[in-house]
Symmetry: C2
Subunit: 437 residues, 2 copies
């Protein structure tokens, strides 16, 4: 498997565009010298594609998520239309009508059926969509569609909200002499702690999260059931393992389109090509997920929290999330303070079983197995404070926690908590355009 | 019932002191011109007092909490010795030995039994107590004991960590011609989200919290069983309803001593005086709890979150806690942004049942029933943005949430999330004395 240029337009048979239609209704003259950032994305498959999806488990669900769930239930899609700047959440019946109108208008200009159009929105909650702008944007995007990497890049830019950079990946691999591709784009930044399920039904226990969107395309053909199974597994190990602020969004959505343009017979779990497809999908989701954490609002340090030896997988997950979402642990990461007391405290109040005298805590460089243990069996080791400070000084490091109670393990990709996060999210009420989702 | 001067020394038969013994081992010359703040408190009852206690439900429990639980189980105490600057948590067998030594030294100098001495600590986790300083401090405190309000005030100062001001209350009331008094001191500031139980056993569901200590004294006589029942009820409606940062501490402790110096026969729940005692205790706990929130680390705004109409009490509590601990809701409070979308989002990811189209959200002045509704049945009302901004501009306001699904209600006393909180808690690794708990 190789990394290739581009993203959603890297696989055969996909076009994309990103245009500016002023969803936030800013005054003119906004944006950089190069003009304002695009805020409406369109991704189109030349042929009907099978589709799988993962959606927020928040009980308050944005209108576009409801529309997507219907399309995914039917299983076939031709296009994704997505806007940034407005979440179309808590917008009542008008919001649902607006989401359907987005699908209808896209279908009209693309000459396809509205039932084949997926819809996504991200931005401020509770504000009606400016439909005149959205409709004009969709029409313009349809005219702007194209096949190369720059078109995928425009779509990646269009879905950004507080993201500082677009997030794109693409991979290519060969099975039995035939080449396949899988690409994707994503956005994150704030309200990031997704826990999605295929139906939006809630797994137990339920943690907290933020708006992230990811759209993935492949030219492989995969049976619908196994397409969803592969996406469910990949999201569980990637997007559902990230947290910036612990706030789960009303809009979290991951969509995967498989249009079969590469020409294979549809794969099942038993097919020779399926494993490689699955590993490309896992890699794409994990890479995009980690890009989201790295580019989270105000994020300075990114920490991979690895929990081992929990009583079971659920306990491991609970322990990792408690540490990854503790404001005091997150501020100490920001300060470069190897404060294991706060980690122990967070483990202690998690719903995971924890025995203080069994806990080991240590630090490692990303991907390294060489762990510098600062706590063994609940007691501090003799490693000097300065050496621990050096271990938590890099902008990325790993935190290893061994509970030594069983075989459960979990990983969370977490961010620190900085003054910049607070400053960004408090907004400026005198400038409503500054107010976040 | 009247408010009176003083705190733990307001009831008859109690002495207190607060002295500086340099627990953090700062260099000389630290502190203000008036000398450094006291860091060791001693409270002594002239006669054996019945005692009730509430303790952290964190699985990682500080050594002094273990010692207190034993004393409370026996039911009789004569003294409380407490230090700030070091939590004596995650300190292993040596920490437990140190906590017992604190009790033993206090007993020795006071001429009482070590089993009658309650112990509390607050400060950084994982650092051994400087026992030489602590022992010298206890001896000095015993010499400094006194009965008036200034002595209670010194004890209140001695337990402060990042608190900017001492927290004291005292009340007096008359039943059947006899006068009774109840007073208390508390400290909070960071790691504030207590959920205590009498045994340290965990209620379900388990939220997250921080270190708070409160010591209460009364000269009424109350049967041990009802003393504990009254304290359990008062803490459930006060200290267990506050949150600054959602991090629950290893050290949270509330102690109540009743020495009977007022001369009544011991009250039970059926006694004529019990109701008034109970209401004085509730008032003292609530007042101290709210002082803790107002003086939380970096806190600018204090918000009372009131949830009504939840399916049941547990749902109401879960909904209130989700809103009160959401980083995005808390930063919007800081910014004076009446962002109801983030509140709806937090309700949606809480474990409480929430139906978007039934939710009402509004603001009121403290204690007022005059609610300015910004959302009714899930939809924004016509109240202008500027008017909502004015409702969330004061440093204290109430947030009313009606779920309209049942009769469950709950209250949380919450704080905003500010840059100052982050700045304070990130600390400065080049100055270990700056590093928090």
């Amino acid at each position: 498997m190789r990394e290739v240029e581009g993203s959603v337009t890297a696989p055969l048979g996909y076009q994309a565009a990103g245009v500016f239609c002023n969803i936030k209704r800013l005054g003119t003259g906004k944006g950089s010298d190069r003009g304002p950032k695009p805020d409406l994305a369109l991704i189109v498959s030349d042929r009907p594609a099978l589709v799988a999806g993962m959606f927020t488990t928040n009980q308050v669900v944005a209108a576009p998520v409801k529309v997507c769930r219907e399309v995914v239930r039917r299983g076939v899609a031709r296009a994704v239309v997505a806007n940034s700047g407005n979440a179309n959440a808590c917008t009542g019946p008008q919001g649902l009508a607006d989401a359907r109108t987005m699908a209808r208008v896209a279908a009209e200009v693309l000459g396809i059926r509205p039932q084949e159009v997926l819809v996504a929105s991200t931005g401020r909650i509770g504000v009606p969509l400016p439909m005149e702008n959205v409709e004009a944007g969709i029409r313009e995007a349809a005219r702007a569609l194209g096949r190369g990497a720059p078109f995928g890049a425009m779509a990646a830019q269009a879905i950004m909200t507080s993201d500082t950079r677009p997030k794109e990946v693409a991979y290519e691999w060969t099975v039995g002499g035939r080449t396949y591709r899988l690409g994707g784009i994503a956005k994150g930044a704030g309200m990031i702690h997704p826990r999605m399920s295929p139906t939006g039904r809630r797994p137990a226990p339920l943690p907290r999260h933020a708006t992230m969107l990811a759209f993935l395309t492949t030219d492989a053909s995969v049976e619908r059931r196994w397409l969803q199974a592969a996406l469910t597994g990949a999201v569980a190990a990637s997007f559902n393992c990230i947290t910036v602020d612990g706030d789960m969004s009303t809009n979290d959505t991951v969509l995967l389109l498989a249009n079969g343009a590469a020409g294979n017979d549809p794969w099942t779990v038993r097919s020779r090509g399926f494993r490689q497809f699955e590993s490309a999908l896992h890699r794409a989701c994990l890479e995009l997920a980690r890009m989201i954490v790295r580019d989270g609002e105000g994020v300075h340090r990114v920490v991979t929290v690895r929990v081992f030896g929990a009583r079971n997988a659920r306990d491991a997950d609970a322990a990792a999330r408690a540490v990854a979402n503790s404001p005091l642990v997150k501020t100490s990461w920001h300060g470069g303070d190897p404060n294991w007391g706060r980690i122990m405290d967070a483990l202690g109040y998690s719903t995971a079983q924890v025995v203080e005298t069994k806990v080991d805590i240590g630090y490692a460089a990303p991907g390294s197995k060489d762990v510098l243990w600062c706590v063994k069996r609940g007691r501090p080791t003799s490693v000097p404070f300065e050496e621990l400070c050096r271990a938590v000084a890099p902008t990325e490091f790993e935190l290893h926690i061994r509970l030594n109670l069983g075989r459960g393990r979990a990983v969370m990709y977490a961010a620190d908590l900085t003054e910049a996060y607070v400053d960004f999210n408090k907004g400026d009420v005198t400038n409503p355009a500054s107010l976040g989702g």
